[in-house]
Symmetry: C2
DNA sequence: TGTACATCAGTGAACGCGCGTTCACTGATGTAC
DNA sequence: TGTACATCAGTGAACGCGCGTTCACTGATGTAC
């Protein structure tokens, strides 16, 4: 009898199947994060999200917010971390699928797949990276810098790049990341599941990466001539 | 006497030297636009600007806003136009200073100069181009597309690009514009008048553009091999 | 296992605030004679 | 040039609304015995 009473109470209390308090806490927390991502995906900027709209969408009362985050900024920083965890996973995936012949095509495929599957995280990064909120903007741009460095490290392993300076590798990684960000931006302009448009964007990204890599074997001499003079 | 009375009234009325009603109207209108740009430059997103904060900064009462714009969106669209007028002027300047040998260095110089001199317009474009407000975001991205096309037309005049398809020229112009946007984004991260940091950003941009252009002469054959097969 | 108490995620009322928008207005400039 | 009237940029009071944050609370879960 006592057990029945408690079971009923549990399932009634929030209409969910989470047995422990910790599980329900975690569930609410994630609901708040998801509500914010959803609104950003729908076209809002982070600045225009309100604590009340987020809690409303998450199905809790405004004051419940403070059980999980001290402010919207803190929630935003959590989303930055969550998003870049996704991006790092993508980098790892790309690293593994490296058949040197088709590396560009494969990289773009990995990118497109990840954008499709984690659209919200990419929207978040692209939007917040340029949005008003100074704290979040710097958090994102800092993560982008780290991400670029990781890519530079990966690039250093390619034979053709073995002789490049760290500086030049960063420069190349930056160029590739720029192309990636612009590609993501273009994909986000397009309705979800518009295969033609997506394919067109992918083709352009591939061409741009291919063109970039075409310059690579000729790089050294050009830099020497340009910066070291006739010494 | 009558003249004196009127003169006094004029100069007292707003403490300014604008003689005609039309001039004063224009003055207020520009004050509203400038106030918005200033707040965006200071780190706000467009969404977080309020009609009241803009009128406050412009030194007029909130309701005066409606004498000039029907809504903040309308003011925003005016700023999009104003900003891209600046960017087009930049393109024209770049077009004129084309000494084929130093074209990249010169282009980056033109870019850096314009960003320094019209910082607000660049901040506006970069921020709004990714911010929440759907109307403005699309307005900006559309202008960027037009801007890219104009650049593609300019590129078509170079001997080495004369044989390129329209599609490939767009692709290349897109790559250059991406680099430009990323460069502007990096410059805006940096405090105003930090010559070292600016120079470093300029150097990276130059390298990236140079690397991109290094691939150009080799482009055709690579594409042929990739897309046309052995026919 | 059963009981008594502690913890704490979520509640709901209340607050003061800045917002966009309405409205009737004021008074200097512009214009017709 | 002088006068009488029209125009219209800017004013100021008022409104209802959603916001973030405070506070005392409730009641289910967790824990010590």
């Amino acid at each position: 009898m006592a057990v029945n009473r408690r079971t009923r109470a549990r399932s009634q209390s929030h209409g969910r199947s989470h047995r422990t308090q910790a599980e329900r806490r975690q569930h609410t927390r994630q609901a708040l994060l998801d509500a914010a991502l959803l609104q950003i995906e729908a076209g809002e900027s982070f600045d225009s999200l309100s604590l009340r709209s987020v809690t409303r969408a998450a199905g809790v009362v405004p004051t419940a917010f403070y059980r999980h985050f001290a402010s919207m900024d803190e929630l935003g920083l959590t989303l930055v971390e969550e998003s870049f965890r996704t991006l790092r996973r993508m980098l790892r995936d790309a690293r593994e699928g490296l058949a040197p012949e088709h590396i560009i095509k494969r990289s773009v495929e990995v990118l497109m797949t990840h954008v499709r599957e984690h659209r919200q995280h990419f929207v978040f990064v692209v939007r917040v990276g340029y949005t008003g909120n100074t704290v979040l903007r710097h958090a994102v741009r800092n993560e982008v810098r780290l991400f670029t460095s990781e890519l530079a490290t990966d690039l250093a392993r390619f034979p053709v790049l073995r002789e490049w300076t760290t500086d030049d590798l960063q420069m190349l990684a930056g160029l590739l990341v720029n192309t990636m960000i612009a590609t993501v931006g273009a994909m986000l302009d397009v309705p979800v599941a518009a295969p033609e448009a997506e394919a067109e964007i992918a083709r352009t990204a591939e061409k741009q990466l291919r063109l970039t890599m075409l310059g690579v074997p000729r790089w050294r001499s050009a830099t020497d001539a340009g910066t070291r003079g006739s010494g």
